[in-house]
């Protein structure tokens, strides 16, 4: 329980102690981190202000754009302070800084969540595997933890090293959060710099978490051909006992599978179905592809109500707070396993397994807290076996036959709709059901987030969400799709292959569809976006709920995109990295391009690498359904690294974007590293975080945000071809900023040559003086100073 002391170890203190340094190195091992695998870069373990200058460079070009979600501040007892339109709170803060502060708090919560997830995993795995368990991602991955190397300057070798990295993250998060206290930071720019710091830390924590589980649980180590598994509401074989895992931290799920194997119950699906929901589902299938994925967060309440699950095991994150009461309604016992999500349940950690199983099967307790994961696994399995025959899949969804009757109470007051996060016309749908028409309800199924907020608002207590699900009965029964198991990191060999075409623009971009399912108009949009870019042979990486939503769509050939496209990190590849924490591998790939392909020094060299990524790696993230604080910090972490992110219209409620202005030439002027000249390179990438109003806008913006100053002529031509094609497809003419991206005639897409030449004439375009430069924002990278 007590960790033995971290020792601030100094060579000095060893001198004269009679112990030679070599002995200590061997004995203790952590010193291995200090090994000279590369000279130490300028910013090991950066503190809050270490990268402030880099942040300010970004923030000068990509200015914070605030959309207050509330004009008040209620953070201290001086308040509430009305900050509308520049008024000052009692502490002196204004509305801009307040937005920065709220974003900082969100990022701190997001980063803390991944860090604590990582901490839990690492501590647990050290207990199971020992702190000297090696970090080995296979022979195709030499740069095993690019983010860790980049930020900390450490080349981690063991699980123990990961714990050490987390200490740094923890220290920094606490310090950064402190800036949010009343009467601390005052400038919105400094709040943003701190949010960027938190975002960076978040990526580090995610990398630690995912690598820890990969190396110990033997997840695919960057396998391009990771197996296919299943996703959907319709896949559980309900004749068997069914265990459903909800959350993000797979270690409890692993214990379930291990217990089954050890006790002759076979692999998942053989005698017991093991299902996952939310990111833990990805990681279950990474552990054993016979586990199955129910779906994204939107499926949580509806699957519980279907009654299919005999036991529910919660870990952490993305747990709907109603799971406990929902599970009770269908007599499904609940096992909570995380100290971060105890849900008021009695702590049975120290009780014998049999006693807990009895209590759950008998219904003495509807749920328990078990913080010993091995025990939780055993209890889950034994309870499922014993309760399944008794429960008989009791469900709390109305039968389709009853829909009309239930709907009859509706007064069409509209409260349901007016509280639905995405304004779904539930009132009309329920009212139509009253009149016997269930189509409108069924239609909503694909859009509904499954949050049940409508139900809690309905003055007539109509179970609106259930009506939607029951009306879509048929859809659900057949909801069964293929998804590729999360493959984890990108191989160094892949990077070597695609590094050059990406940097020079011949692979027109790397697009990442990530994050949650708060989609404005259903998950289909994400799949359609992904398909558009897959067809165009972009590299498409995916993770989390987005990876699941993309699976739940069939192309014209009736296949899922995972079946149609390869899992390789290559043109036209659809790369499911895995759960949310696996997002680190997407950032990691960008970093590895700079390091492996371009040989930029990696160690503690954040600015240079980020500068490289911003100017050369045509990557763009799309978090179409971003909802949570984690998504805020992930996006912000991508931003500090120079990767732009597009969010859906709901994302406007994050309150802050980073927007460039293409007409501001000065802001898009960089150094040419070869000469030191200041050169305008066009607005590429134009924004760092952007809200798109529609799927169409997001698609066009994605293509554009893959442009980079460093594109070769051929690369630029290819990228512009996609941009122009997509712009014309959706906007029906040439983009009006096209001239800002055409440096010489050679950049012009051949297919549109005539048209574009005409346009260029019209706007008075002239070929650029310096068409291709070695672009950088960092003065110190100028090689020949004038």
């Amino acid at each position: 329980m007590v960790e033995k002391g971290p020792i601030k170890f100094s060579v000095k203190s060893l001198k004269g102690s009679g112990i030679s340094l070599e002995d200590i190195e061997i004995a203790i091992g952590r010193l291995a981190m200090e090994e000279e695998w590369e000279p130490m870069g300028p910013t090991p373990m950066p503190k809050i202000t270490t990268l402030r200058e880099w942040d300010m460079k970004l923030l000068k070009r990509y200015r914070p754009f605030y959309m207050p979600f509330c004009d008040l501040c209620c953070l201290c007892t001086y308040g509430k302070c009305d900050l509308t339109a520049g008024k000052r709170g009692a502490c002196g803060l204004d509305i801009g800084a307040q937005q920065g502060r709220i974003v900082l708090i969100a990022c701190a919560i997001g980063a803390s969540t991944h860090t604590s997830h990582a901490r839990h995993l690492v501590d647990h795995l050290i207990e199971k595997y020992g702190e000297n368990w090696p970090i080995d991602l296979g022979s195709d991955i030499y740069v095993e933890m690019p983010i860790s190397r980049l930020i900390t300057g450490i080349k981690p070798k063991t699980l123990g090293d990961l714990s050490y990295i987390l200490k740094y993250v923890e220290e920094q998060i606490v310090q950064t959060l402190a800036a949010a206290h009343t009467g601390q930071e005052g400038s919105y720019l400094d709040f943003e710099s701190k949010s960027l710091h938190l975002g960076m830390l978040d990526h580090l924590a995610m990398e630690v978490a995912d690598v820890a589980q990969i190396i110990t649980y033997n997840f695919p180590k960057g396998k391009p051909d990771a197996p296919l598994t299943e996703v959907g509401m319709g896949l559980a074989d309900t004749t068997k006992p069914v265990i459903l895992c909800i959350g993000h931290n797979v270690s409890s799920g692993v214990e379930i599978i291990d217990f089954m194997k050890k006790n002759g119950l076979g692999r998942p699906g053989e005698t017991i179905e093991v299902l996952g929901l939310c990111c833990t589902a990805h990681d279950l299938t990474r552990y054993d592809e016979q586990a199955k994925i129910v779906g994204p967060i939107s499926h949580q309440i509806r699957f519980i109500r279907s009654g299919a699950a005999d036991v529910l095991i919660l870990d952490e994150q993305c747990i709907h707070i109603m799971v406990l009461s929902e599970a009770q309604r269908v007599k499904t016992p609940v096992i909570a396993t995380s100290d971060k999500a105890c849900h008021g349940l009695p702590d049975m950690t120290n009780k014998p397994v049999e006693e807990i199983v009895d209590a759950l099967v008998s219904g003495k307790y509807p749920g328990v807290l078990i913080l010993d994961l091995e025990k939780a696994g055993a209890v889950a399995v034994l309870t499922a076996l014993r309760i399944a025959p008794i429960r008989k899949k009791f469900k709390s969804l109305p039968d389709k036959a009853d829909l009309k009757k239930v709907a009859e109470k509706c007064t069409k007051c509209g409260r349901c709709r007016r509280n639905c996060p995405i304004d779904l016309p539930t009132d009309e749908a329920v009212f139509a059901a009253r009149q016997g028409n269930f189509d409108k309800l069924a239609e909503l199924y694909d859009y509904c987030l499954g949050c049940a907020r409508c139900e809690s608002e309905c003055p007539r207590d109509i179970p609106i969400h259930s009506l939607i699900v029951s009306a879509a009965e048929l859809k659900i029964k057949t909801e069964r799709y293929k998804i590729r198991v999360g493959r984890g990191p990108i191989l160094d060999t892949e990077i070597r292959e695609v590094g050059s075409p990406i940097v020079f623009g011949e692979i027109p971009g790397v697009v990442a569809y990530v994050g949650c399912a708060n989609y404005p108009e259903g998950g289909r949009d994400v799949a359609i976006m992904a398909e558009e870019f897959l067809r165009r042979r972009f590299i498409v990486t995916v993770s989390g709920c987005s990876a699941m939503s993309i699976a739940m769509y069939r192309t014209e050939e009736g296949k899922t995109l995972y079946e149609e496209y390869s899992g390789a990190f290559d043109a036209g590849g659809l790369v499911n990295v895995g759960s949310c924490v696996a997002n680190a591998h997407i950032a990691g790939a960008a970093i590895k391009i700079a390091n492996i392909f371009a040989r930029r020094p990696l160690r503690a060299n954040y600015e240079e690498i980020a500068d490289y990524v911003l100017n050369r790696v045509g990557a763009c993230g799309v978090a179409w359904g971003a909802m949570s604080q984690k998504a805020a910090s992930i996006a912000t972490g991508f931003n500090r690294l120079g990767v732009p992110v597009i969010v859906g219209p709901q994302g406007a409620k994050y309150r802050r974007l980073y927007l460039g202005r293409r007409e501001d030439r000065e802001s898009f002027t960089v150094y040419d590293a070869r000469t030191g000249d200041r050169v305008w390179v066009g607005p590429a990438p134009e924004h760092l975080v952007y809200v798109a109003e529609t799927r169409e806008e997001a698609i066009v913006m994605t293509a554009k945000l893959c442009l980079r100053p460093n594109d070769t002529t051929k690369g630029r031509m290819i990228k512009l071809t996609h941009y122009v094609e997509l712009y014309k497809k959706y906007y029906r003419r040439l983009p009006d900023d096209l001239h800002m991206f055409i440096r010489t005639e050679a950049d012009i897409p051949i297919t549109f040559k005539g048209e574009i030449m005409e346009y260029l004439k019209e706007v008075g375009w002239e070929p650029w003086e310096k068409p291709v430069v070695d672009p950088t924002l960092l003065e110190r990278l100028i090689r020949v100073k004038k």
């Binding site: 754009f65 509330c70 004009d71 509280n419 608002e457 409620k653 169409e696 009006d736």
Partner: protein
């Protein structure tokens, strides 16, 4: 009872939009020194009686001689109708420019009144909040059917019928006042 935001939870603070009527809207637009209309993608889905909202807005803009900014892919719909918007830009991007007190479409005098219409409710709400807080010199109008507390003026939540009526009055007012000129 006071006006409630369309999304009931969307209570932003002490400053909320004044109630707009068709007549007031007409007068405001008529008096505006440099107005602007920003048209979002919902205008392609929503009907005003038999007409698409988009077509209705085109009429308004023509009668009142107000330049249009087409957001997202609405541009194509305008072009199909032979209408050339003054600008095609993301809803976010145009709002970003409007924060800047110097900025205007033609670089002459800044915009004093900006109309938002047809942008999905929660995004529009946030855009209006941006201008409310960071561009107090601009007065914003929402012509959508739903009350937008973050605008300077907004229709309250209206039935389709009442909304159309108000839009018609707006149009009538614009034309009438025109005559008076």
């Amino acid at each position: 009872m006071s006006i409630t935001p369309w999304q009931l939870g969307n209570v932003p603070g002490p400053k909320t939009a004044l109630k707009l009527t068709g007549e007031v809207a007409g007068k405001l637009l008529k008096k505006a020194k440099n107005p602007l209309i920003i048209v979002g993608a919902e205008a392609l889905k929503v009907k005003v009686g038999e007409k698409l909202l988009l077509d209705y807005v085109i009429e308004i803009a023509e009668v009142a001689k107000i330049p249009i900014v087409a957001t997202s892919s609405t541009l194509s719909a305008f072009l199909e109708r032979g209408v050339e918007p003054a600008l095609s830009m993301g809803a976010i991007e145009i709002t970003d420019r409007l924060r800047d007190p110097e900025w205007s479409l033609d670089g002459s005098k800044p915009h004093d009144i900006v109309v938002y219409v047809g942008i999905t409710y929660q995004l529009q709400s946030q855009l209006l909040s941006c201008l409310k807080n960071f561009a107090p010199q601009i007065r914003t109008l929402s012509l959508d059917r739903y009350y937008h507390p973050n605008a300077t003026w907004s229709f309250q939540n209206l039935s389709e019928k009442d909304w159309i009526e108000n839009l018609n009055i707006l149009m009538k007012t614009l034309k009438e006042e025109k005559k008076k000129d």
